[in-house]
Structure formats: C-alpha cells, structure tokens
Amino acid sequence: MKMFTFIGTLLCLLIAGSAHGTKDVFPYTYFIDDLPNGLRVITVPTDHPNIVALQVVMQVGSRNEVEPGKSGFAHFFEHMMFRGTKKFPAEKYQQILKRAGVDSNAYTSDDLTVYHSTFSAEDLETLLMVEADRFQNLTYSVEDFKTEAKAVLGEYNKNSANPLRKMLEVLRDTAFTRHPYKHTTMGFLRDIEDMPNQYEYSRTFFQRYYRPEYATIIVVGDVTRERVVSLVKKYWGSWPRGSYVPDIPAEPEQTEPKSAHIDWPMPTLPWIMIAYKGPAYSDEAKDMATMDIIANLAFSPSSELYRRLVIKEQKVDQLFPLFSDHRDPYLLIVAARVKDEKDLDYVKERILQTFASLKTTPVSRERLEAVKSHLRYSFALSLDDPQSIADTLAHYVALRRTPETINKLYRLYDAITVEDVQAMARKYFVKAHRTIVTLASKR
C-alpha cells in the first residue's frame, strides 16, 4: 500500500507557482491506497461540512470499442449499470439513493466511464455498499437490455438536432481510419440501432472491463482516509481481478489532407472545423501541454484571431478550440460559426494562417505568461466544492490514475517556452495531417 501526501494551499500556489513552478497546483492533501486486487482508492478530505462526492472512474470508454459493430457499447453499458442486481434490483437501488438524497449519475467519453454521486457524510457506507454490489454483481434481463437500447437511441435522437454533434461525428470518421476514435462515444447510428441484439456481448463486455484493475474510487469531502479505506476493503475487497487487455489498433500516419461537407436540412449559419492530428496526453513530454497553451494563445477570446474575426470584423460569432486530453493521439480542432456563407473561405484562410504563423513567428513572452496565469487561476477557481474537485480528479485519473499528474502538468506549463511553441507548431500543424469539415444549410 502506498501513500502520498501533498499539501499546498490555494493561495501559495497562486502567488508563487506561476513564477517558479515549484508549488503544487492541486492544493489538497490526498491519499492513494491500492488494494491487492488492483483497485485504487484516492481519498481527499476537505473542510466542506457534511458533503461527500464519490466517483468510480473506469478506464474504459469508446476507445475500447475495437470490434466491428460494437461502437457505442461503453456508453450503452453505462446505462445498463443502473439496471440492478439480485440483492438490489433497480427499484430497490433507486429507493436507497432517494432516501439518501443522493445526486447520482454517470457519463462516458472516449477514454473513461465515470459513475458519480454526491451525498451527506452519514450515507458514505450505504453508497459504497450499493455501488460495490452493482460493480460486482450486475444482472439484467434480455428484456431490460432491449428497453434500455431504446433509451440510448432516444439519446441519439435528442442530440441529433445539434449541428456540432454531427460535425464531430463526420470529422472523426473522416480523420481516423483504424483507431476507435473514428467513432464518437454515442457510436455509429447503425450500431446503436443494432444494440437490442447484443445482449450476449454485453455480458462479455462486463466480464472484461468491470474489473478492479480498471477502476479507481475517488472520495472527496467530509471523510477520513481510514474510514474510506476500511469501507472499500469491506465491500470491494473480494472483487476478482480480471485479465483482459484490449488490442487497440494504432492509427497509421495520415498522408494527405482530407475534407468533408455536411448538408444541414435546416436553416443554420455555416460552420467550419479545422483539425490536425495531435499528441496524446502526457505529463512528461511537452507536446500536449504546449498544445493547451497554443489553444489559449491562438484561439481563445483573448487571441488575435478572435479579436479580428469576432470583435472587429464581426464575420464570425463563435470561435473556439477543442484541444482535448486523450490517452492516444487525437485531434486538435478549431471550430467557427460564420455569419455569412460567402465569408466561409475567408475565415478558413484566417484560421489556417494562424496555424501557419505559429510556426514562423514567435509569440510574445508577455502573452505566454498571461496564458500561464490564466491556466492557474482557472484551475484554482474550478475547485469550488467536493463535487467539482472530484470532477477534476476523474478526468486526470482516467489518464494517469493519480492526482499527481495535475501537479506535473502545471509544472510542465510553467516550463513551456516561446521556442517550444514554435517547435511544436511545426511538428503538429502539418498539411498532410489536416482534416477540414464544413456544414451549411442545404440549398
């Protein structure tokens, strides 16, 4: 069993951190305990009276959907996790949560599935007990399975009115050829429609991935490490370790620029997304950290491009980067909504030119420091309450299974130089690695 303790305070990290990069940005003491079966427990006691946030982070997401016809399964399975066990059938499970006044839910993304709940400190044992039961003993009938498949289709349907959803679907399908990032977390529509027929596979999925070595339990709030660990041992200690390791295909290097266009059936303003293949998340290599800085430097509301297109010329009403952390190399995306279709090419050129100029023109040190300040204050402001602390941790725990990765990442940010920005821009903003998707109303 290991234990790490890091102490800091919000204040000192903000005052000193950005200057020297020596302080930890994550200001709370935390404890890591590993059970023999591979389950990891991260406890973060805070002084928020009586509130506890519990999150079970599974390192499984749509990235794990490597078999044909099975896209969307990680998310679908997350739904099934609410269908109950022999001991606590769904109705009973819901009753227990209701009596405890729990705010409970789950979400799935490319690299993770998270089950989260927030509740009063007195209900900690109840929650750890019922959650342990469903992770180990989930049971559901074929009929429940088919009913839930319809609810998932309903989710696809409710999302379908949004043009950005469609654009991301097409962008990923166009940009990737082999890696499962080719599909969104919802999955391909054809696979969603076929889900009612996949009951047997759902049991296989559960046996493979709902295992302690894929799981990390995060508990934040009015708790002690001792109590959390003893309860986790009591209820989760006998969960048997699994052995499955997925073979996730690597994406071959893209060799030529790609593009796609979507005809939207409704009146809308045109959109453009420009994406380059990017690096995977790392708290050691500077690549992704530099990309986070570039997202802020070049495409945030404080950027030159934003000032020009949105505020001065007013040709664009929405402009934003989507540079997200992923376990495997993903996409660096910039999206813009253009007010007049005739300006679409102009806006595209401005965005491309911005990418190009990062390679040739050094950014100012002052701007770089402003971005670093922004990142640190953003982080500090986000840690409002146990739930938001746990939310933040879940993201990083899915990537590296430890809060320490946050401190390492922010130290990396501090170390990024003007030269790094230029070098990484040259490395990643390569025409042959580019994909452009546009969307406009059907004429």
Partner: protein, 567 residues
C-alpha cells in the same frame, strides 16, 4: 487540458467547457452567454451519459441551447416580496439593498442584481432588456473597449456574465481575492460607465438575433419547445415573449433604445448588491458608495395581469425538419416560492418528475419501463437550459410560474403514445394523490438534496438573493423546516388544488405536423411497439393508454412553421 475554466467554446452563447463555469473572458459568458456546469472531458470528445449531458458535450450542445443565461423580463418592479435581511447603507438617496455572505474563501463572488427584466420590454421593443444587459456585460466601458476588457480579464481567468429573466437581471462573476481590485475596477466601470459603442451594439444585436433564429430554431428542439410553451401560455401578457426578445423587434432596436432602458431601470432603487467570500470588511461600503452614481429611481412594482385562462386542451405544433419529436406541456399555477403551499407543491413535483433524476415517477414509467426516450420531468419554476445542467440557476425569480412537464424527444411513431402516457399519469396523480410511502421517501430525499443545491459559494449567494426576493429566509433552512411540518394530507390537498389535466397548453416540435395533428384530433389508437416482450400488466396498461382520450379537436391545434417562432 481539462476543465477549462479557460477554454472556450465560445458560442455566442456561451460556453465553457468543462467543468464548471466559464471563466475566461467576458466574451463568451455574458448575456448571450451561457454558463455551463459540466463535467467530463472536454474538447472534442463528447462524453455521453445515461441521464445527462455534462462537460464537453454540454458545452457543445449548448451551442444549440438556450443560450444565454436566459434573459428574463419583467416589467415593473419589485415583486411581492417582503424584505428580509438585507443590509442597508448610510448616505443620501434611497437605501441600496445588499446581501452579504462574508467568508474565509480565497474567492470573491459578485451578484449585482437589478429588479428589472424582459417583462419590462416595451411593446415593439422586445429584447431591449436583454440587449442592455449584453451591452454592459459584453461591451466596453467608457474607459476600456471590450477588446481591452477581454485582455485584462484573461490572466485572471475570470468572467462577468449577465442573466436576464422576466423580472430580474443579474450580473455575476467570481475572482480570486488576489485580483479583487483589478476585477472590481473593470466590472464597476462596465456597469456604471458603459461605453455604448456602435460596433458593440451591432455585434450583440446580431448575436441575439442569431441566438433565436439559429441556436433555438435550428439546433435545440427541446429548448425551442420549452420556451415556446411559455410564449403560448402567456400570449398577450408581459411574460409572452422570449427573454432574448422577438426577431422582428430586435431588428429594429437602436442604441438609443438601449440607453433609454438603462437610464430608466438601472437605478439604486432597483439594485441589490450581492457579495460572498473573502472580501475585505470595508469592501461592501465601497461598492455601495460607487453604485450611488446610478440615478436614485423609485421603487416600482411590477404589476402583472393574471395569465390568460386556458379552456380545454390547446396544442401548437412547430413544424421543422427533425429526426425526433419534442413535447412540453403546462399551465399557470398561482404558487411561487413565497406562497405557503410552495414546499408541498415542490415536493409533489419532485416525486412526479424530479429534474434529470431516475428516481422520479414519470421517468420510471416512461423511460425505465418503456424505453420511450431519454427522460421525462416536471417543474413548478422556470428552469431554462435543463439539458445542460442538473441544478436550477438562481436569480430566475418570478411572480408567476407554471406547472410544466418536459418529455424529451421521442421517435415520431411513439409521440402520440408519449403524450398520452404523460397526461394519463398526470390524471392518475390528480385523481389518486401520493401514497404515504412515496411522500415520506420524497420528503427525506429533498431534506438532504437541498444541501447540494447550494453547494458552492456563488450558488449560496444566488439563493440568498432569491430568498430576499421571495421573503423566505435562508433557503435550505426554510425548505427543511417546511418539509418537516408537511403531512400527506397537505400534499394531497395541493395536488387537488393546483394540478389538473383538463386545461393545458401543449407544444410539439416535429416534422410531420399534419400527420400528428390528424392522429391526435381523431383520437386514433396509438399502440407502442417494443423490441422485447413486456409483462402482462404493462401491456394491459399500454392498451388503456393507447386509447386514452385527449379532448383535442382540429380547431384546438395550430401548426406553426419554425420560421415564425420567436419572430
């Protein structure tokens, strides 16, 4: 990077990303901007969830969302409320109201609230309240251009956002106390000494129009239906237009209109200053002194006519090209948070359709058992942007509220059944009331859940401002005490008194509007089809629901092309 309190999704509306609120720069917050409380990974990766959209997704979805902290409107002035604990100030002029929650946190939260909103939009100028708020929160001050403000706020990673509802406009933001001086200087100039630049006006007016035309009409069928339900219910009433305005009126608005609205309504008498967190002890006095630069004004009272009566079932079908069918329905209720029956009705709502909770009755009957859609909920207070968040935003207080049921999009072939089952269940609730077991379980749930509603400093401040408006004291204590006193008889009495199933307005968003109208008006049976066998008792109930009579004649149903909505 993850949460981004620093990343943007700007969206004229808002956005943010991940994790929590938007901090960033005012640009993407403010008035048309929306804030989102999300979690999950961000950028590009859209997480999907069982019963929710958070995080990145939410951020993205928001683009199609009701953008903006939604504006509200109101007219007249101060509502009904009694005046609870507010601290006054000394000095000349009317007393400036304050709500102060000092604490040890390194963060300082501002909520500067004016008791004016979209219900005060003059006829023909619908949208002026929201556009005024946008000019203050997303435009420049006299000292700084908007661009300069964005640059100055950026290293602080903070934002300044406006939310406009019918009777309230609130400007809010949180800063680290390291940066309090810089932040306060910027925002106080924005509110007290606006720049009124023509280029800001053009940008924000276009943004407001695009919000209605593009974001709502063409990107978010759910919010489209929910917002149009309010317009349908409040036709001819000061609440009868979207908080962002009407497209036709917005197109004609001028900078002079906005300035006139500001002069008339942004007064000391309409102002409540809310502060929370680790500010210095003398800070509130300084803020009060600064805000004395506003004209004194006089307390006005927003006198609202009663909502128009609804006689029978009335349906408005919005026709648009879309995959699924979105449905909302409701009717006015004479109960707001200051009413003695509010806690009982709030409990009934939670039992019947708690927002985004799989515990509630409707969710169980429609989604869990039948897989009809993603979720089904009930409300007794305005709750915009519900597809992006789990908790209601504060400072949407209103004198008049509606009871509402929100049915998330269903497959068109099941839409008629979905409407029938929701009304059938509502009828059962009204006819039979709640059982003791359900009453006790819901009471216990809410007594604890209420703590989570105010779990952040900013939310506590927002709720304190609302409690001041409604005259009910600290929210969690008020709720817990009221719940402790409630009896089963109380809740069953309020069900009979305030809920009903005969006089309701319904809004449907669908592609085949005529087909749906014909099916509904003819009361044609609408069997539901399942991919797997169902228990006999469910099939028997389905048979009853498939024939459940809806008293809608062809003349009770109107079809509106989406282009005309919000026009």
């Amino acid at each position: 990077m993850r949460h981004d309190r620093g990343l943007w999704l700007a969206v004229g509306i808002i956005m943010v990303i991940l994790g929590t609120l938007v901090h960033g720069s005012p640009s993407w917050t403010a008035s048309g901007a929306e804030t989102m409380h999300g979690r999950g990974n961000v950028h590009g990766a859209l997480p999907t969830m069982r019963n929710d959209d958070r995080g990145p997704v939410a951020a993205l979805t928001m683009i199609g969302g009701d953008g903006g902290r939604s504006p509200g409107n109101t007219l007249m002035s101060a509502p009904t409320p009694k005046r609870p604990p507010s601290h006054g100030d000394a000095g000349p002029g009317p007393k400036i109201a304050t709500v102060l929650l000092p604490g040890e946190s390194p963060l300082v939260s501002f909520r500067i609230l004016f008791n004016v909103g979209a219900a005060s939009d003059p006829p023909g100028k619908e949208g002026v309240a929201a556009l005024t708020a946008a000019m203050l929160s997303q435009g420049g001050s006299r000292q700084m251009t908007y661009e300069q403000i964005v640059q100055a706020m950026y290293p602080l990673a903070t934002s300044f956002t406006a939310q406009v509802d019918k009777e309230m406009t609130v400007f809010y933001g949180t800063t680290h106390r390291d940066n309090l001086e810089t932040y306060y200087r910027i925002i106080s100039d924005m509110l007290l000494d606006p720049g009124w630049r023509e280029e800001d006006f053009t940008r924000l007016k276009t943004e407001a129009i695009n919000f209605l035309k593009v974001n709502l009409r063409s990107s978010n069928d759910e919010e489209l239906g929910k917002e149009e339900l309010y317009n349908f219910i409040y036709e001819g009433h000061p609440y009868g237009h979207h908080n962002r305005g009407r497209v036709g009126a917005l197109e004609k608005l001028t900078l002079a209109d906005v300035k006139a609205f500001y002069r008339q309504h942004y007064t000391q008498a309409n102002l409540v200053i809310g502060l929370a967190g680790g500010y210095p002890p003398d800070f509130p006095e300084r803020v009060i002194t600064d805000f004395r630069r506003l004209p004194p004004g006089s307390p006005t009272r927003l006198k609202l006519p009663p909502p128009p009566p609804i006689r029978g079932l009335k349906m408005r079908i919005i026709q648009k090209e879309t995959r699924a069918t979105a449905i909302s329905f409701g009717f006015p209720i004479p109960v707001n948070r200051s009413h003695p029956d509010w806690p009982a009705l709030w409990l009934v709502r939670s039992y019947f359709g708690e927002h985004r909770s799989s515990n509630s009755y409707l969710f169980q009957r429609m989604r869990e058992i039948r897989g009809l859609n993603y979720g089904d909920y009930a409300y007794i207070e305005y709750f915009p942007r519900g597809m992006f968040q789990f908790y209601p935003d504060p400072n949407l207080a209103r004198q008049q509220q509606i009871f509402q049921v929100w049915i998330r999009p269903v497959e068109p072939r099941n839409a008629h059944f979905a409407l029938r089952i929701a009304l059938y269940e509502l009828k059962k609730l009204v006819d039979r009331g709640m059982t003791r077991e359900d009453f006790e379980a819901t009471r216990q749930y809410l007594s604890k859940f209420v703590n989570l509603m105010v779990r952040t400093q900013d939310r506590r401040l927002g709720y304190a401002l609302d409690s001041r408006y409604y005259g009910i004291g600290e929210f969690t204590q008020y709720v817990r005490r009221a719940l402790a006193r409630l009896t089963l008889d109380d809740v069953n009495r309020v069900i009979k008194k305030y809920l009903q199933y005969k006089n309701i307005k319904i809004v449907v968003v669908t592609k085949d509007a005529r087909g749906f109208r014909d099916a509904v008006a003819s009361n044609r049976p609408s069997p539901i089809h399942y991919p797997a066998p169902k228990p006999k008792e469910i099939l028997q109930e389905d048979e009853i629901i498939a024939h459940f009579h809806l008293d809608l004649r062809p003349e009770d149903i109107e079809i509106v092309p989406v282009e005309r909505v919000f026009q």
